[in-house]
Amino acid sequence: MKKKSIKNIVIFIVVFLFTSYISLILVVSNRNYLFIEKIFKNINSYFNSIIINNMYDVKKISANVIDTKTKLLQEENNTLKELVDLKTNNKNIIVSEVTNHVSKNWFNSIYISNGTSSNINKNDAVINSDGVIGFVSKTTNSISEVDLITNVSSNNMISVLIDDEAFISGMISDYDEKEKLFVVTDVMYNDMSLTNKDVFLSGFIKSSHKGLYVGKVVKEEVSNYGLNKTLWVKSNVNFDDLLYVLVIGE
């Protein structure tokens, strides 16, 4: 009897380690979806999309309005840029709906209802009217997976600029879940107070990210023996209530 229970425990541990290893590789690696995954995720996205569209009819209309308005503003912006001899902006902006929240708790990611057929690519930024939400990590023909910006860590820091005039750079290296604040480190120290300054993506990784609003500095502290500053940035995005998002393509 005792032998049997020891055997069960050993099996439990071995299978646990094996499953952890496989799942870790599947989640962390830069892979594409398997064929069967695509089928299931597309089915799920399709049904959720129908439900959302029926449930939030008004919001669907508002999403269409946003879409049209975005295009109009973009065209207007381009016309104005042409007038002052600036390069036109051909960013591909897609309004998409969030179709899966299940993996938000455990994987810090969401799924949206557009994919490569809408010109969405890996690393495209995803925003809403309040700021940056995350980046596209995987994409299929009709759905994409978005890693939320709240999952930032010292292993995958995000480069930002503080204050659109002074262009002070820093790195978002952590997210304080309790206070709901982003921690920006490696900010070159200067005497100027940065509280209440706006924080934007720098666009060092992808030029289309440049200038996307992240949040406002609410707290600052001198760190590294006076060499650097650490900032705490408040984002207005409600990560618990994401329904429609904008994907910023090239």
Binding site: F16, V27, F40, N44, F47, I51, F107, S153, Y175, E177
Partner: protein
């Protein structure tokens, strides 16, 4: 077994739909079905295969990691099949349900802590934000199983 299969599938899809409607609440409907179906005395290899397939479908639909839920559902099914845990009493069922939730949460944290950050606040929210709805679902499943059980008497679920 067929009824369990149908309920598991419904619960898997319901969890996805539910989270799109109430985004702050984490439903644990599949665990409720596993708990109630574990009361059946005739659970065998087929039951574990069913849990394994349910877990794989769950991962294919909602997550990025293919075998996490398959493992967790089979393990919880196995633990609930222990004679010492099995009970028809409603209060003990609720207790067992909390036991399932804790096991599930602990295992999910163990599986995902390398790439997901957790705080006590998050864990507390996951476990208790939807506790009333989860218990309500458990109760509904329990009543339905009881009704079906009475109608077909000795037939297996």
């Amino acid at each position: 077994m067929v009824i369990t299969c149908i309920f598991l599938l419904i619960s898997v899809f319901l969890e996805g739909i539910f989270l799109n409607i109430f985004k702050d609440i984490t439903p644990f409907f599949v665990l409720a079905v596993i708990l109630i179906s574990s009361l059946d005395k005739e659970n065998n290899k087929k039951y574990y295969i069913l849990l394994l397939i349910t877990g794989i479908i769950y991962d294919l639909l909602y997550t990025n990691a293919l075998f996490i839920h398959a493992y967790i559902f089979v393990l919880i099914g196995y633990l609930l099949n222990k004679k010492e845990i099995k009970s028809n009493n409603v209060f003990k069922l609720v207790g067992n349900y909390f036991f399932c939730l804790i096991i599930y949460t602990l295992l999910m944290i163990l599986f995902t802590f390398t790439y997901t950050k957790y705080t006590l606040n998050i864990i507390f929210n996951i476990l208790f934000n939807g506790i009333i709805i989860n218990l309500f679902y458990l109760l509904i499943i329990y009543i339905i199983y009881k009704l079906i059980g009475n109608r077909f008497k000795k037939k297996s679920y």
